[in-house]
């Protein structure tokens, strides 16, 4: 009896969440962006998420000209799926609304090539690829072991080593992506004007001022201060209350 009750509860929750999403869509369609945002937020409060949910929420905030919130939600969507075309398209629109214009300095060299390759899949996908390679290896071994014809045997033998290399490659790609995911901490500036200082003290001089919607990368945390890096490589300390981290 109790189990049934729990299952019912779970189902109703899923149902409720889905209706929250659909309610949001309906409100968005009628141009009630503020209420639509609330409906989408209620789904998030139910501890559920999806790329589309963050995307729609970002659209709501964009329509309300709340640039910082819009970019924040688009970035959240991109954490789940870094290659979503719609999100990448709309975040460009939101970024044009921001006040700060910070150049994105392209990274070059071997590290960039490596990151470009490993960035094709998130680390969990790499993990699955590794596992499937491991099973493929088993198949090749069996082929090598049981086949009688010499040519076939040879092909399987060479294939085995190729797959072993592939396993190592995808495994290291997974490790690389995981460490990149853990170390990269993007954040969005929310304060109307946030002073970036050269030292984590109020007395130190202000190096520059950031405005809402600007994306920064958090490098270190010290008390109420966070060391940030901009996309053009500039560094400084910022009050942690003026930014919101995307992966928290």
């Amino acid at each position: 009896m109790k189990n049934i009750f729990y299952i019912l509860l779970l189902i109703s929750q899923v149902f409720y969440a889905q209706t929250g999403f659909e309610k949001g869509n309906l409100l968005y369609q009628n141009g009630k962006y503020e209420e639509a945002a609330k409906a989408y937020e209620s789904v998030l409060d139910g501890n559920q998420e999806s790329v589309e949910l963050y995307f729609n929420l970002g659209n709501c905030y964009y329509k309300q000209h709340q640039t910082a919130s819009a970019i924040y939600n688009y970035e959240k969507a991109l954490v789940l799926d870094p290659a979503d075309k719609d999100v990448l398209n709309n975040i460009k629109f939101a970024q044009k609304q921001t006040i700060d214009e910070i150049k994105v300095v392209p990274k070059v060299g071997f590290a960039k090539l490596l990151r470009d390759f490993t960035g094709i899949y998130p680390f969990d996908t790499w993990a699955w690829i590794t596992v499937s390679f491991a099973f493929l290896f088993l198949l090749f071994f069996m082929g090598y072991y049981f086949y009688q014809a010499v040519t076939v045997k040879r092909i399987f033998f060479v294939g085995m080593f190729v797959i072993l290399l592939l396993i190592l490659m995808s495994l290291s790609a997974a490790f690389f992506e995981k460490s990149h995911f853990d170390n990269e901490r993007p954040a969005i500036v929310f304060a109307e004007s946030a002073d970036v200082r050269s030292e984590p003290q109020n007395a130190s001089s202000t190096t520059f001022v950031l405005h809402p919607g600007t994306k920064v990368y958090v490098e270190e945390t010290l008390g109420n201060w966070k060391k940030i890096q901009l996309t053009d490589g500039t560094e400084g300390w910022i009050d942690s209350r003026s930014i919101k981290e995307v992966k928290d």
Binding site: F21, Y28, E52, L53, I99, W126, A134, M142, Y145, L171
Partner: protein, 581 residues
């Protein structure tokens, strides 16, 4: 003779006495409006007196020469002096240089004297002075509207010259007032107009000489250095000319307004807005765009203006913050400010030129302008409205516009557009478990490698079984024996195939049991082998009889009962032999 004696004595005395030549001043520190008396005194009768150049002074009397000689108790003293009355022209340290005389072919010089001239002082009244009437009837007054203002609160200083019963010929400025730490604006007075007013309880005539508006720039005690004037006056005397008119005596008189101290209050810190830039007064703030809907390539002007009364020239206007898709150029600053005595009024404005770069709707956030209201003594903030700008065309569209297209055709260009919301989704729990690095991941990763030795072992076992040829043959013959026996059972109604199958079954049984080939199969051989395996002779003879019977029965007519009997018999013999061997 007597004359010669006196002369001799004089000479003698002169030789004995020390020659003294010095300059004496009445005081070494004096105000700009005070006089200095200087005497050059010697105790000899020197010749060719050369006066120094009195740089920075004006000689108002002198030189006057004075000689005195006295005999007291037979002692003779001689003194000769040249006196001057000087008036300083400027403030600061002035030096009176050396004066020279010649005596007996020798040149004597005085020491130079330093005189410190300070700002004009108010002179004490001297009842015996001939200029009493001028002192009593001529005043220079600095009227200060407020001696306790806030920073940037305008105050006015009006210099008025009060005079009574005397005539004024003209005046000359000796030192201009200095307004350190003030922003000042002089208000020109085109014509001096005498007016009447009360001063010290009496009716006086006065002239406004100078009006200045001051904005203190620093808190604390600030001093205004006084204005000093040299005024040519006409003093009435008691004498009258033959027509009965009062005879006027011309004179000059120095007046100064005295140093004024102003105590400037700082602006209160409580409630001071963050964006306060020092505006004090009463203002109105506006931000007006020239247009809000525009096409690509057009520009708009955003004018921020502050109008009102206050220190308009002394603060900066807020800067608008625009999205980076709008390109904003440096502003054109414009000031239309009048400065009457009440302080600056007018309007200042910054005009920004903004050129949009991409299509879309943009918002320029409200701007805030804060000022300190002197009327209420509090800070006030005025916010402009949010400005919405919509840009109709994007640059992407214009790039393709020139492409040739049939007239009247609606070309659909691939324009970048803001994507609509997604209508379908698959929600997942927020705290997803990570597969990579989990036990499941490592389990699945190593499972194929753990399976490798198992496969190897399995194959080894299989090979071992395959390599046992003899055992395999027995197994095969046994299997064949069973197979043919069951076939025989199926063919129990057809005589010929039944006996063929039965014979094959028995042959294969022998092959499996006796490990012999078909070529070795002769009756004798079989008997011998079976007996040597301790089969009972009875069973052996039965077996052989049955094989022979199979051959015969294939061609001889037999009933189905015999067939059944043969089958049963075969099964019985085979099972018996199975037990025995």
């Amino acid at each position: 003779m007597k004359r010669h004696l006196i002369l001799f004595l004089l000479c003698f005395q002169g030789l004995l006495a020390q020659v003294q030549f010095e300059a004496r001043v009445s005081k070494t520190t004096l105000g700009l409006n005070e006089r200095l008396r200087i005497d050059f005194v010697m105790n000899i009768d020197g010749d060719n007196f050369a006066q120094p150049s009195f740089d920075g002074f004006r000689i108002i009397a002198g030189p006057s020469q004075q000689v005195s000689q006295s005999w007291i108790n037979g002692k003779t003293s001689f003194e000769k002096s040249y006196s001057y009355f000087l008036l300083p022209n400027q403030k600061g340290t002035l030096v009176i240089k050396q004066a020279m005389i010649e005596y007996n072919g020798q040149i004597y010089k005085t020491q130079p004297i330093r005189i410190n001239v300070t700002a004009a002082t108010e002179q004490p009244r001297d009842p015996n002075d001939s200029q009493v009437s001028a002192d009593d009837n001529l005043y220079l007054v600095a009227d200060i509207s407020n001696t306790n203002p806030y920073i940037n609160q305008p105050i006015t200083v009006v210099y008025k010259l009060y005079f009574n019963n005397i005539g004024i010929r003209g005046f000359e400025e000796l030192s201009k007032p200095k307004y350190n730490d003030f922003w000042n604006q002089n208000i020109d007075i085109k014509q001096l107009v005498p007016e009447e007013g009360m001063f010290k309880g009496e009716q006086y005539r006065y002239v406004v000489l100078r009006k200045t508006v001051l904005y203190p720039q620093k808190s604390g005690k600030l001093t205004i250095e006084p204005l000093s004037l040299n005024i040519g006056v006409q003093l009435p005397t008691n004498r009258r000319d033959i027509f009965g008119r009062v005879i006027l005596v011309e004179d000059s008189k120095r007046v100064s307004a005295g140093t004024k101290t102003i105590n400037v209050k700082p602006l209160p810190e409580t409630g001071k807005p963050l964006d306060f830039t020092g505006a004090v007064g009463r203002f109105d703030f506006k931000a007006i765009p020239s247009k809000t809907t525009l096409k690509n390539g057009e520009s708009l002007d955003l004018v921020l203006s502050v109008a009102g009364t206050g220190n308009l020239k002394l603060f900066t206007l807020p800067k608008p913050e625009v999205p980076n898709a709008l390109e904003m150029y440096d502003p054109v600053h414009d000031e239309k400010v009048n400065t009457p005595l009440s302080g600056m009024t007018g309007k200042i404005s910054d005009s920004y030129t903004i050129i949009p770069q991409y299509k879309g709707d943009y918002v320029i956030k409200p701007m805030h302008f804060s000022y300190f209201d002197l009327g209420t003594g509090t800070y006030k903030t005025i916010s402009s409205k949010e400005i919405k700008i919509s840009v109709l065309d994007g640059p992407a569209q214009t790039a393709e516009a020139s492409a040739t297209a049939g007239a009247g055709k609606n070309r659909i260009a691939g324009v970048e557009q803001f994507k609509y919301i997604d209508l379908k989704t698959e929600l997942t729990a927020r705290e997803k478990s990570v597969f990579f690095g989990s036990d499941k991941f490592y389990g699945l990763l190593f499972l194929p490698f753990l399976l490798l030795p198992i496969i190897v072992l399995f194959k080894k076992k299989k090979e071992a079984i395959d390599s046992d040829v003899f055992g395999n043959r027995i197994k095969m013959n046994n299997r064949l024996a069973k197979k043919y026996l069951s076939e025989a059972k199926k063919q129990i109604n057809n005589k010929e195939p039944f006996y063929v199958a039965l014979e094959k079954a028995m042959h294969n049984f022998l092959k499996a049991k006796l490990h012999i080939e078909t070529s070795e199969m002769s009756k004798d051989n079989i008997r011998e082998l079976l007996l040597s395996r301790k089969a009972s002779p009875e069973a052996v003879s039965h077996f052989i009889a049955l094989t022979e019977n199979c051959e015969i029965a294939r061609y001889a007519p037999s009933s189905s009962a015999t067939i059944q009997h043969d089958f049963d018999k075969a099964v019985a013999i085979i099972s018996e032999l199975e037990k025995q061997i």
